[in-house]
Symmetry: C2
Subunit: 184 residues, 2 copies
DNA sequence: TAGATGTTTCAGAAAAAGCTGTAATGACAG
DNA sequence: CTGTCATTACAGCTTTTTCTGAAACATCTA
């Protein structure tokens, strides 16, 4: 039912998933959908992956909550069929967006909250360190937001301009640092 | 021994770690070192976090294998003391580098291998999909490699130029796509 | 070399995560 | 309303991961 090629991809993907905090089965289901030209229904996945019906059901729900799969219906068929978006870039954008929402944003909130807390002397260093971390995350996410606004084609063009960007950076005026008085 | 502020940060960090495939204790130890102005030794961490000596020892070893902590010695003291790099950017670079080495590179190898495999007709779609994925990953890692060459100050300047980059992208000539004849 | 101090290893215990089958729920056609 | 087909929820079992304590292993000092 599943060629060696697809089998291998699916196993690798499940393995990778678990290294990034994604349940192995969820990863495998995603991989199977990713490789399938046709939408698949839950029972297809049970057959393909050999996991229980309920596991498939819950994993699909998880994937839906991440907006990583789309629901499709066939006329005259009550079952739910699933696909992944055709566009790889859309997949990446969604993935980043969701992780940002679930992990980065709450972390920023927490960091800000810790920063404002009236600091006892013993926490001075820790708070400075937290500030550094927050500023770095803000810089990165801010930049990501900018890039995310671009249409894919423009973004690809930009990413392909690595060398040109380096040149730009080399000529860029470096602004005086703000509060960084860290001694080396 | 540990102020509320630091306690909270450490717990949050451990929690986040586990969502990204990093052992909770490893995350907590890292966080504790990150917030500490002074290098800490294994027993300090046992006291601070309330985990077993051996757990600390193994977690530190793990962190060392990721090059995320540095060893320090004090004159006349045999114990190993640990710190995190002062420079947040160095931390990010190391983290990305290690994950690239451990997860991205092996994935690229696997994808290339699957792509070359003489394809039966039924795998044509899957192989095309795999190619798309490989190309995307290569584009991103290639771009990352370029950026990684920049000194931190230049890189920060570049990241701060989000708006300018958008403009550049908007005016960029979009190259004709190579082999992508995907029908929408 | 013995003693003191500090580190690492590892087998098994504990905890967490993941999975399954069953039973409940829902949705629709007739 | 009833029977059929499909989805969902959940209690308990299985597997995996994480953690611990004890013992083995180093390294230094005298």
């Amino acid at each position: 039912m599943l060629s060696d090629l697809r089998q291998e991809f699916i196993l690798h993907f499940g393995e990778m998933g678990s290294r990034w905090g994604i349940n192995r089965t969820v990863g495998q289901i995603y991989a199977a959908l990713f490789l399938s030209e046709e939408p698949l229904c839950a029972d297809d996945l049970v057959g393909l992956l050999g996991v229980s019906r309920s596991n498939v059901s819950m994993s699909l729900k998880e994937l839906q909550s991440w907006s990583l799969v789309h629901l499709k219906h066939r006329p005259g068929d009550r079952r739910d069929f699933f696909t992944t978006p055709d566009d790889m870039w859309q997949i990446v954008r969604t993935l980043v967006e969701e992780r940002k929402k679930r992990e980065i944003d709450p972390t920023l909130t927490k960091l800000r909250q810790l920063e404002m807390r009236p600091g006892s002397a013993e926490d001075a260093y820790a708070q400075a360190r937290i500030t550094e971390m927050r500023e770095l995350i803000e810089l990165l996410t801010g930049w990501y937001d900018q890039m995310n606004k671009l249409e894919t084609e423009r973004l690809v063009a930009l990413l392909n301009m690595g060398a040109k960007l380096q040149k730009l950076a080399r000529s860029a005026r470096i602004l005086p640092k703000r509060t960084n008085k860290t001694e080396s």
